[in-house]
Amino acid sequence: MAVVDAGAPALADQPMAPRRRGWARGLEIVVPATVLGILAVACFLGPLVLPIPDPIGGNVLESYLPSFSPGHLLGTDPNGNDILARILHGGQSSLTVALAVNLLGLLVGGTLGALSGFAGGITDTVIMRLLDVLIAFPSLVLTLAVAQSLGPSQTNTILALAFFSVPAFARVSRAATLRLRELPFMAAAGLCGTPVRRVLLRHVAPNIAPQLITFAMLGMGIVIVIEGALSFLGLGIPPPAPSWGNMIAQGQQSLSATPMLVVWPSVALFVTVLAFNLLGESLRARWSRQ
């Protein structure tokens, strides 16, 4: 009889301070969204448009340059690569992975959960037990094992993480669908003889979408962190390709001497995750009020 049954990860939960003025509420959504937009543009378009050097193949003679050196705004890493370039390119992989994983989770998991919740009965029980097994399974193990055996790569990371994103979304989707099913208009739709597919598409989907999207926002932050963790352990995006995670790992080795090698990618990570979290929270607050 667990109270928190949505299977949501640690972050999805209670509202922050109550009512604020109307314009502040709008700001809560606009500001993080803008930050994310700028970030995405910077990561994907920045390297194409701005005079930023390549993220790999740097000159070893130029290694360990401090921040604000000429030509290297954030300095260089042990191999002479420009840190800013690496952060932007790393952002590309992190955001791509996070987007792919959450999209898969949303579509596959969301559908599965909705079907399960809607169908009820044996189907529901069976699917739920399977999902319970997946959720109880220590995810990092599987990801590590997969990475170990198949070799680290972006695609493998996406697949491995999606493996756990799908059940999480399924749980949320199922809980939302179950709550929806109680409402009278669902019974009405059934009585009218509306075909199941139509009910799902036109009634269930739009109503559970807000919760799933909010969950996805928080999921973006989570996946970026986990992908960083994998790269940190050497099992995510393989070097020399940059990822915020492997940059942090690399910087760890000279932590006391050159802390900025860890600080810059950490800042990028923090800002991105914070923006996603704030956006998710604001969206949830906005939608739950309706």
Binding site: R19, R20, R21, G22
Partner: protein
């Protein structure tokens, strides 16, 4: 109103207290401030209540009756702004510092709320919820408090009080829970009990039992009672004095007998008229009051009932004063009914 129903002076032992009412509410105003608007829930309510009498405050939802009651105890949320005067036994309550207010809550004025299922803490034994109230205003130790609690449960006629003491709210029926609420309210021997829709959530039979209990307790303990209700029948059956509220103000005020036989306010008449009655021909339409209650964030000047009143005229653009037009009978209307109402709901 220190005259009894026969119009004779009531014999009083303390001449001073006879003239000083237990509760004097003067021009009470409450509004709720939010980012965009102000909702004026109570707009100038005034009345007097003597010790030991039962007053019914009657009105529809949104008339401000509950809000005015909570204002007495200072139980409104922070968004509420209260002005005006509420004097309890001579002490001004509006603006009283919170610590002082707390001393009076439960001890001088106590409240019983509408939904006992939600008004009792589900994870606390009912005995503890009563002893909490007892010990808040006395120095009794745990055992003495427990004895007092059991005594209170007996007072509200709850069977097997010793055993009930250890039970949880969900193990009791609705009527029993309401008795527990009353026991909690009586814990510190208050002089005024406010029953805010105390019987609305109960079925009719239980309702009658609880009202009888309240009446009995009132007479036994000499408490004054304010009964807040939307049920005119209830008010007529049990209360001695009645105030009718509309849009946050009092529109009519009299002893129950007077009010229901010599109704003046068009609103009160309409309310009485809207009660279903056995004497009417079957299949006649219930005369409902047309229109909607006013928007409390945008109250028009003048009489708030004007849009729905069939006796309205241009005079009504100015708000009629709430005055004692006849001895013991107050109303606020330019066009009170002249005739005695034939279908008053006196029972």
């Amino acid at each position: 109103m220190s005259i009894d129903r026969a119009g004779n002076d009531v014999l009083v032992t303390d001449p001073e207290s006879a003239t000083r009412s237990l509760l004097e509410v003067t021009d009470l105003r409450v509004y709720f401030a939010s980012a965009r608007q102000r909702v004026h829930a109570v707009n100038g309510l005034s009345y007097r209540l003597q010790a030991g009498r039962m007053l019914a405050i009657v009105g529809e939802s949104g008339s401000g009756k509950s809000v005015s009651a909570r204002a007495l105890l200072g139980l409104l949320p922070h968004t509420a702004q209260v002005s005006g005067s509420v004097r309890f036994d001579g002490t001004e309550l509006v603006g009283l510092p919170e610590r002082e207010m707390r001393r009076r809550r439960g001890a001088d004025i106590a409240m019983v709320f509408q939904d006992p299922a939600r008004s009792l803490n589900p994870t606390m034994r009912i005995g503890t919820q009563i002893t909490e109230a007892v010990r808040a205003h006395s120095d009794l130790d745990r055992n003495a408090a427990r004895d007092r609690a059991v005594e209170l449960l007996r007072l509200v006629r709850l069977a097997a009080p010793q055993r009930r003491f250890f039970e949880y709210p969900h193990q009791l029926s609705g009527g029993m829970r309401q008795r527990v609420m009353i026991a909690i309210a009586l814990a510190a021997s208050p002089r005024l009990l406010v029953a805010d829709e105390a019987t609305t959530a109960l079925d009719v039979t239980t309702q009658a039992q609880i009202m009888e209990l309240l009446l009995e307790l009132q007479q036994r303990l000499g408490m004054a009672v304010i009964m807040i209700t939307h049920d005119l029948g209830l008010a007529a059956s049990y209360a001695q004095d009645v105030i009718v509220m509309y849009a946050g103000r009092a529109v009519e005020y009299a002893q129950a007998s007077t009010l229901f036989t010599r109704v003046r306010m068009p609103y009160t008449r309409a309310l009485l008229g809207a009660l279903p009655q056995l004497e009417r021909e079957p299949h006649t339409l219930l005369p409902v009051i047309p229109g909607q209650p006013p928007d409390l964030s945008a109250l028009p000047a003048g009489c708030p009932f004007r849009p729905r009143c069939d006796a309205a005229s241009d005079d009504c653009a100015t708000a009629p004063p709430f005055a004692e037009h006849e001895p013991g009978h107050w109303w606020a209307c330019w066009h009170p009914a002249e005739e005695t109402s034939q279908d008053g709901a006196s029972r």
